[in-house]
Symmetry: C2
């Protein structure tokens, strides 16, 4: 028989599928907030701490300016954030929440629970999955 690698045996495909399925579950929920999934991730970071430079956001999320610049422009267009050149370092652009951006946090509370409800995994399995994914991501990133 063929000894080509098999799709269903590959962990990378399992990761790819699970990640797509998770964002698909989030999509209608986030649509109520007017956000896409990557936009939601940026807002999560800002809700934790602001202002954050574009570089900080990129380091936190693993995204570069090619992705973030237009995304932030759209968030600014939605009236959720503002961008301003940093005073100390004119190369930097600080991203801050508007009042509307801050207020959106409240409506976002219920978002993670929707995934948990749909996941069909026990709390222990979730925790172990989370830990294993963390190890895996760290190892993969350090191998680059």
């Amino acid at each position: 028989m063929s000894d080509a690698p098999r799709l269903r045996h590959q962990v990378c495909f399992a990761l790819y599928s699970a990640s797509k399925a998770a964002t698909a579950v989030y999509r209608p929920v986030l649509e109520e907030l007017g956000l896409t999934y990557p936009q939601y991730l940026v807002m999560l970071v800002l809700w934790e701490q602001e202002p954050r430079s574009v570089r900080d956001l990129g380091a936190e999320l693993g995204l570069d300016s090619g992705t973030l610049s237009p995304l932030l422009k759209r968030l600014e267009g939605l009236g959720l954030v503002e961008r301003r050149r940093s005073a100390e370092d004119e190369r930097r652009v600080d991203v801050v929440l508007t009042d509307a951006g801050t207020a959106l946090s409240g409506r976002a509370q219920a978002v993670p629970q929707r995934l948990a409800d749909a996941a069909g995994l026990s709390a222990g399995e979730i925790e172990q999955l989370h830990a294993t994914l963390g190890k895996l991501t760290a190892a993969l990133n350090s191998s680059l």
Copy 2:
């Protein structure tokens, strides 16, 4: 303190990061084959069995024609596959491997090992991760 959901606590972000890290590890390897990661997935399916209709490929990979049509056009441009209208059902387009497409299978043998090398997980952990991701994906998809 803020009771906004925290980025690092979210399994969805762990999935998103791990998936991106895995494709990043694959990228330089696949570049030697002239493939992107989604193109590699399509080739994996075809190496298992061909011909496959566009619909079959989509069902296998969870992609729709909006993604597959241009991707297949690029694979055809690379000379790896051919597309032909099905004789039995003129709505369908069957995708078949060219000789070059079949031959590429050999060079793709070593690809999965590269991820395993970089993963830093034991065989048991990999297996459990794979099983948990499978359960998760099935549950998420059935909740839509």
